[in-house]
């Protein structure tokens, strides 16, 4: 693949929350990845792995009680977003970077008509007059597959179905032609036939507008359908990062491997047992000294208990594991690849 221009780069992102009387929780620990121009990067992981905290830190939307370590950096157009003033961040949001959430009902103003909400954003960022703003909104809302756009703009959010609302959110998010769209579980609340519609629209618009997308999801099916590159997180850390085809072909981290094998497939006979990952995610207040996945891992050794594996290059791919899964090597032969 040809080298593309980097749009956003997250370096050493560490975030923690401190409440009085409670031990400090490490929410995100040394997260590093980049998003190239026109690329869809999926950020995958289970609840509490830090994927939303990471995404919200890009837009400065995390709760005030969440703090970042000083070396943390999110580079976007030669600026560190973590150090931007509120005023500058506000200018950025919705204009250069916009975000859609799982439940559009929370992000739409229930008291304002759809059309009003959409034109407001345009008027604020693109300084058009009301008429052209209205026309732009109409065009965009038609583009996301809403029929009769003129009438729909005069509706209130509650008058729309869940799928329609998510379409409106996407239209609104892309209205100012942002360079980056952050989509946090955009289809999780939707039915599967509606999800297929929304994913198709997102993919079409992404190509048409050449916007980059950071897609946050726990659904590996959605990842496989949409992403160019995948970043897998586990308890606050990036444990693996790879091209989508390479990752599904041969995951390197035992956690990624476990995730892939714990989804029942639709192909073939279905009586074989799925292999679950044993145990549960460690609490962010009592993370182990070595690898965070140690308790649940089938490939662990003493080293994993003592030393924390960092994200390192492994044959052109990044993985944070002392004993990555390598094709053709069975679990009981793992000593062979120990070096």
């Amino acid at each position: 693949m040809s080298k593309r221009e980097t749009l956003l780069e997250i370096n050493n992102l560490r975030a923690f929350a401190e409440k009085t009387g409670e031990p400090r929780s490490q929410l995100v620990n040394s997260v590093n990845f980049r998003i190239d121009k026109g690329e869809i990067v999926a950020l995958v992981g289970e609840s509490g792995c830090g994927k939303s905290v990471t995404a919200l830190s890009i837009l400065g939307l995390n709760a005030a009680s969440i703090e970042y370590e000083s070396e943390s950096e999110i580079r976007f157009h030669d600026e560190n977003l973590l150090q931007l003033s509120d005023r500058k961040l506000r200018k950025l949001r919705g204009n250069d970077i916009s975000m859609i959430f799982q439940d559009p009902m929370f992000s739409l103003n229930p008291l304002k008509k759809i059309g009003k909400q959409m034109t407001e954003a345009l008027l604020q960022h693109k300084a058009a007059d009301v008429r052209t703003a209205r026309q732009d909104a109409e065009k965009m809302i038609e583009r996301v597959g809403i029929t009769d756009p003129k009438r729909q703009l005069d509706n209130y959010p509650y008058q729309l179905s869940g799928g329609m609302r998510q379409r409106v959110m996407i239209a609104m998010a892309l209205l100012c032609k942002p360079e980056l769209l952050i989509a946090d579980e955009p289809t999780t609340a939707l039915d599967v036939t509606i999800q297929a519609q929304i994913l198709e629209i997102m993919k079409d618009l992404q190509q048409e507008l050449d916007v980059s997308i950071l897609l946050i999801t726990h659904d590996l099916g959605v990842v496989a359908e949409m992403a160019d590159r995948v970043v897998v997180m586990y308890s606050g850390q990036v444990v693996e990062e790879a091209d989508v085809y390479a990752l599904f072909e041969q995951p390197l981290h035992p956690y990624t491997n476990g995730l892939l094998t714990s989804v029942p497939t639709l192909e073939g006979e279905s009586d074989e047992r799925i292999s679950a990952i044993r145990g549960t995610v460690p609490s962010p207040q009592e993370l182990p000294k070595g690898c965070n996945f140690y308790d649940r891992c089938t490939r662990r050794t003493d080293r994993c208990k003592k030393e924390e594996p960092l994200l390192t290059n492994h044959g052109g791919r990044n993985v944070a594991c002392w004993h990555p899964v390598v094709e053709g090597v069975k679990d009981d032969e793992r000593t062979a690849i120990r070096n």
Binding site: S161, T193, D219, S262, L266
Partner: protein, 331 residues
């Protein structure tokens, strides 16, 4: 194919009144379930899939007696449920809910949560009940000391295990599982699904497994019923359903599921147009006709009934009956 039926549903309907207008003058009905027939065999798992609002949860709730049907009957081991004492029913049927956070009483210790059905049905002495609770905790993969804690101290997956322990306490013959894994993380889902499978093998219990996640349904079910807007549109053995879906809705539902394999990206997919119609005013004729890619004129007027096809599956579609007619009858 199926051994003796444990549960038989026929003509089941549930309408909820919807009040319109300030003075509630106009009354309309939301037809959540609108004429359903189903059977569940002994030791069998029947998966019930469909999108939100199709009536799958309402069906489950009517089976365990949490809702009264507007019309139709549910019979369990040959007895009409409307004539059976509800308390007695609890020994035979239990339910597992979607949200393990709201379905366990937060003020009760876990051992009391699990012992509650035993106490209600005066099953054994206090000491025997305690022993049974310890046994149940262990059976679902928890430890007996976990019984002394409160539900809030457990993760979602562990709470679902507690819910399962409570459900199997009285050794019921049917458990209605309403979206039991959809609130859980992927790796935890697999644990719970495997546990349900193991328990079935051990106890011979039947499951009605209600879910919108098709992968999980395929994994756990023997047969699958697909619902659309209050009606069953297809019933088939799971392998048959996935190999050869008969109803266009089933076909598009399966095709819409995002597959965890990027190499399948270019595949032909059926992407349905439009939203689900409202169950308050379902379309005339076949309810799916407004979204069906294979719609014909007859579909708009005549409602197709659930018919058995030659390979033993059931489907409610005019195309299916037409195809069956064209085939020469085999002896």
């Amino acid at each position: 194919m199926m051994n003796e039926p444990l549960l038989e549903i026929s003509g089941l309907k549930k309408y909820y009144p919807k009040k319109d207008g300030l003075f509630q003058g106009k009354k309309s009905w939301i037809k959540a379930v609108d004429g359903m027939d189903l059977t569940i065999g002994k030791g069998e798992t029947l998966g019930l899939v469909g999108e939100s609002g199709c009536g799958k949860s309402t069906t489950g709730r009517m089976i365990v007696g949490l809702e009264d049907p507007t019309e139709g009957t549910v019979s369990f081991k040959g007895n009409d449920l409307s004539r059976v004492d509800k308390r007695e029913l609890g020994k035979q049927m239990q339910m597992i809910f979607q949200d393990p956070f709201s379905s366990l009483n937060p003020r009760m210790k876990v051992s009391d949560v699990i012992a509650e059905p035993l106490r209600l049905h005066k099953d054994g002495s206090r000491a025997e009940q305690q022993r049974r609770v310890d046994e149940l905790l262990e059976r679902v993969g928890l430890r007996s000391e976990h019984g002394r804690r409160y539900p809030s101290e457990f993760s979602g997956g562990q709470r679902q295990r507690i819910g399962i322990a409570r459900a199997i306490a009285l050794s019921p013959s049917l458990i209605v599982c309403d979206e039991p894994v959809s609130a859980l993380d992927v790796s935890i889902q697999a644990q719970v699904l495997n546990l349900l499978k193991d328990l079935q093998k051990e106890l011979g219990v039947s499951y009605l497994f209600i879910a919108h996640g098709i992968q999980a349904v395929k994994y756990i079910s023997d047969r699958i019923a697909v619902m659309y807007l209050g009606k069953v549109v297809e019933v088939a053995s799971k392998d048959e359903l996935f190999r050869n879906p008969k109803h266009p809705y089933t076909e598009s539902l399966l095709s819409a599921v995002p597959r965890p394999d990027p190499k399948l990206r270019g595949r032909d997919r059926i992407i349905l147009k439009g939203d689900l119609p409202s169950p308050e005013n379902p379309p005339s004729g076949c309810r799916f006709h407004t979204r069906c890619p294979k719609v014909m004129d007859v579909c708009k007027q005549v409602e197709p009934s659930l018919q058995v096809t030659r390979d033993g599956t059931y489907a409610a579609c005019h195309l299916v009956s037409e195809a069956e007619m064209k085939q020469p009858q085999e002896a």
